[in-house]
């Protein structure tokens, strides 16, 4: 990463906004081609995501998933590790919650079960991150390959267990029994309704708060702790890390544990927050989208919150689009997401040269006045 010659606000605000607008512009053209009005579509999408009853709740619910998986990718990236395994780690996290909730649910107080279940999700996710981490550190297997493979393994394990040992009796779907009463995180609409506000039903639950706390913790870890310092030093330069005596192998394993744990906690939102039982495929691609979220959020928790919000709004608003327009299908929404990833990820620096020219020229013109 070279130090940019642009002012900070350009780097952090202007460029992402420009990239987003470009993506929306191109998406608009495509919507126009298939014969719908792009402006109407945009307004339906925005209303769906933020205005309609329950819309904001759903948006923030999806946001929560993206924050967890985005943070997971970001933490690993600070050690220059590309964790593609968010999907599998989240699935294993779900399994962790299920095991804790089902086995302890009827013996311990609800609060303690919930607490242990959250720990279980992080622990199982962490284990699923540590194994590829270990293989990379000690055996030199590339983490991208192993984490991808571990996604498949996790998914297969879940199918095996949910259609076998853990399958609820007397029914035909691959899922566990429901958790005992109360083993669930409070949903916001219930809380608000009790307080007397009329809020639309949505799955938004306390996990959102946990996600925000994780953002703060990740920020502290990366930029305010000795461990974070070592992670970043190792990420930037393996040689410097060896020189300083950090043992890159240990750093890789620890980082993958933290990263996997964060991805695993995504299951808290889906399983403990909404489903209250373990089902198949609850990760539905959030782990992969986390990569785009981290990329767009520049691996910084604040950036990740905004990027997650964007993707959450796209998810929810996209569902609304699908619902309202005949010509626009779910795939169309996926395409818009793809465009955003393309313009803010792959082409993230497309506008840099032009902006640099613009700003440096201004600077040169200013200089004689200042001297």
């Amino acid at each position: 990463m070279q130090a940019s010659r642009l002012p900070r606000y350009v780097d952090i605000v202007l460029i992402p906004v420009l990239n987003l607008l470009t993506a929306l512009f191109v998406a608009g053209i495509i919507i126009a081609i298939i014969g719908e009005n792009p402006f109407t579509a945009l307004s339906v999408m925005l209303k769906g995501a933020f205005v309609y009853k329950g819309g904001l709740g759903y948006t923030l619910f999806y946001t929560t998933n993206f924050i967890f998986t985005g943070l997971a990718v970001a933490v690993a990236f600070h050690a220059m590790l590309f964790n593609i395994g968010g999907e599998g780690q989240a699935a294993m996290g779900g399994l962790g919650i299920g095991l804790v909730a089902i086995s302890l649910g009827s013996y311990l107080p609800v609060i303690i079960v919930i607490f242990l279940a959250i720990l279980g999700s992080a622990l199982f996710g962490a284990i699923w991150g540590v194994i590829p981490g270990y293989l990379q550190a000690k055996r030199g297997s590339h983490i991208v390959i192993t984490t991808i493979m571990f996604n498949f393994i996790a998914s297969a394990i879940l199918v095996w267990l949910l259609a076998g040992m853990l399958m609820a009796p007397n029914q035909m779907s691959p899922e566990t029994v429901s958790f005992s009463d109360g083993v669930a995180l409070w949903q916001f609409h219930e809380i608000f309704n009790k307080l007397g506000f009329d809020v639309g039903r949505s799955p938004l639950n306390l996990s959102f708060v946990i996600a925000l706390i994780c953002c703060l913790l990740v920020w502290l870890l990366i930029w305010r702790t000795r461990l974070g310092y070592r992670i970043r030093a190792t990420g930037f330069s393996l040689k410097a890390s060896a020189y300083a005596g950090y043992r890159p192998e240990t750093i890789i394993i620890v980082t993958m544990a933290i990263s996997g744990g964060l991805a695993g906690m995504m299951a808290v939102n889906e399983i403990l927050g909404v489903q209250h039982r373990v089902i198949l495929n609850f990760t539905s691609g959030y782990g992969f989208t986390g990569i785009a979220v981290a990329l767009m959020g520049r691996n910084h928790p604040v950036g990740i919150i905004f990027a997650s919000l964007l993707f959450g709004a796209l998810f929810q608003g996209g569902a609304e689009l699908d619902f309202e327009f005949q010509a626009i299908t779910r795939d169309m929404v996926l395409m818009i997401q793809g465009l955003i990833i393309l313009f803010s990820g792959a082409l993230a620096y497309m506008f840099n040269p032009a902006l640099e020219k613009l700003f440096l020229r201004n600077e040169l013109m200013m200089r004689p006045k200042n001297d």
Binding site: L227, Y229, F236, K239, L360
Partner: protein, 526 residues
């Protein structure tokens, strides 16, 4: 050689092979070349000398077509030339020999030379033609190379010849050599100079970029001095002197070769016994090193780069593990079983200024205040418990920057944004502020400007006078000679001998560096 070219250019009959007029080149706000003009007479060796960052490399990159100037013009043999890419420059007969060779290690010499000029379909015929042409070139200039050897098996001196042949094969009549002697033994350097003289006698024009004053004096006909992006002097070599050139390079008078007083030596701080390192390829990179390092002395390690000095530094600093033998610091003994590690070594009072400040000594993407705690981030003073306090660290960094005159004095600047000398001062400040008992120093002044060199040398001497034991590895013989109390010479992983500074001569050390044992090297002297 390239008859077409000489014919084409023959019509113009300019006395200058290359004329550069009023070249300007900026990188963002930094102006690397300001109004540079330079005339290079055909068939001469023209030296270009200047500190790091003076703009030599930029100018040469413009000349061989890698960069385009913002303004100004270049004439080759009297003819105006525009280069969009290096191949354009090559077409007009300008070839570059890079400091870091651009060779494919597992190609043969011949394959490397024809790379990119293989001719059309079918390699065989092209290679046969090339072989004939190369035999002629080899004979004409004494460029002896075994064309069928694998490049990676050849010594660096020969690899350099391959680079030169590459340029000549493509018809170069003007050769630019960027710091060509940096990696060579004294003998190889001599051979290179013979080749350069042979090339010159055949009418090839040579531009020699270097920062070594004695090379300029030894071989060039004319010399140009650059300073801060400007051309400050242009003279015939016989009309100048090393002192004058040094003054022109820095813009004030400096002591080129400061001799420092000898100091009385204290007790043994580090003792090394039969120490050996086997690297990953199973190659003995350090063999049976045995020596003592005393408090209050500087033990200089002389040798051509890559003869085991780096391995010695990295095993003593705890980065790599010894394979054989042991070393001892006070009562602590480290061998293949009881491994050292950098953290433990720091606790024992061993500091290490690594050879490569870009990849080891600093994290370039870190801000200065982050880089100055590399390896010391555990220090209790830098925060409480698990957390670090950026304000404390920044204050600490400012303090170090002030003490070591690091410019600009800004802890928030990225490590990559400092000049070579200031980066080195940052590393040095970090390693010295822990008040080490033993200081391991690798290439302290590589790529560092003369002003900073003086400062770094004085700092090292100051440390020695305070009783620190210093192990100094440097490929600059001058530096070793001026700083060390004793000089240890290494060749292919082995210690050739230890010479007290008083009896050491350059000639003798040079022979030992080339692998001649100390006894013979001494006898030869007489």
């Amino acid at each position: 050689m390239n008859i077409e070219n000489s014919k084409q250019n023959g019509d113009f009959k300019s006395p200058f092979a290359v004329e550069i007029k009023n070249i300007n080149k900026s990188f963002g706000p930094v102006q690397a070349n300001k109004e540079i003009s330079l005339n290079v007479s055909g068939g001469t060796i023209h030296g270009i000398i200047g500190e790091n960052g003076a703009g030599k490399s930029t100018l040469m990159s413009i000349l061989y077509g890698f960069y385009q100037p913002d303004s100004g013009e270049i004439k080759v043999h009297g003819k105006l030339a525009y280069f969009k890419q290096p191949s354009d420059a090559l077409r007009l007969g300008i070839g570059m020999v890079h400091q870091h060779f651009m060779l494919v290690p597992n190609f043969t010499a011949l394959e490397n030379i024809v790379l990119g000029a293989e001719g059309k379909t079918g390699l065989y015929k092209g290679l046969q033609n090339a072989r004939k042409k190369l035999e002629k070139l080899k004979q004409a200039y004494g460029l002896e190379v075994e064309l069928d050897s694998l490049t990676e098996n050849l010594p660096v001196g020969i690899q350099q010849r391959i680079e030169i042949l590459k340029a000549l094969y493509r018809g170069a009549r003007v050769l630019i050599l960027d710091e060509p002697t940096g990696v060579l033994t004294p003998l190889e350097t001599e051979q290179l100079f013979e080749i350069l003289l042979a090339l010159k006698s055949e009418g090839v024009t040579i531009l020699l970029i270097t920062h070594k004053l004695h090379e300029i004096m030894a071989i060039t006909d004319e010399v140009s001095v650059m300073r801060q992006g400007k051309m400050v002097a242009n003279t015939l070599t016989k009309h100048t002197s090393p002192e004058m050139l040094a003054e022109q390079m820095v813009g004030r008078s400096v002591l080129v070769n400061n001799k420092y007083e000898l100091q009385s030596i204290g007790k043994v701080a580090l003792s090394v016994e039969q120490l050996g390192v086997v690297d990953k390829r199973g190659f003995d990179s350090l063999k049976n090193a045995t020596f003592d390092l005393h408090a209050g002395e500087i033990l200089g390690i002389a040798g051509i780069a890559g003869n085991g000095q780096s391995e010695l530094l990295s095993v003593l600093s705890g980065i790599t593990q010894p394979s054989r033998g042991f070393f001892k610091i006070e009562e602590h003994l480290f061998d293949a079983k009881k491994n050292p590690n950098p953290r433990l070594m720091r606790q024992l009072g061993v500091s290490h200024v690594p050879e490569d400040r870009h990849s080891e000594g600093l994290v370039l993407q870190f801000q200065a205040f982050e880089s100055v705690i590399l390896g010391y981030e555990n220090n209790k003073k830098l925060g409480n418990g698990f957390f670090t306090n950026p304000d404390t660290i920044q204050a600490y960094c400012s303090q170090l920057q002030e003490a070591f005159d690091v410019r600009p004095q800004n802890p928030r600047l990225y490590s990559s944004q400092f000049s070579g000398g200031n980066q080195q001062k940052l590393v040095l400040s970090r390693e010295i502020s822990s008040t080490p008992k033993i200081l391991l120093v690798g290439q302290p002044t590589r790529g560092v400007d003369i002003g900073a060199i003086e400062f770094i040398h004085k700092t090292l001497i100051g440390m020695r006078n305070n009783g620190c034991a210093i192990l100094l590895v440097s490929v600059e013989l001058e530096e070793i000679l001026s700083l060390s109390d004793r000089i240890l010479v290494m060749n292919s992983g082995e210690i050739m001998g230890i010479v007290p500074k008083i009896t050491a001569t350059k000639a003798m050390l040079g022979k030992m560096m080339a692998g001649i044992p100390i006894e013979e090297a001494k006898e030869d002297k007489k």
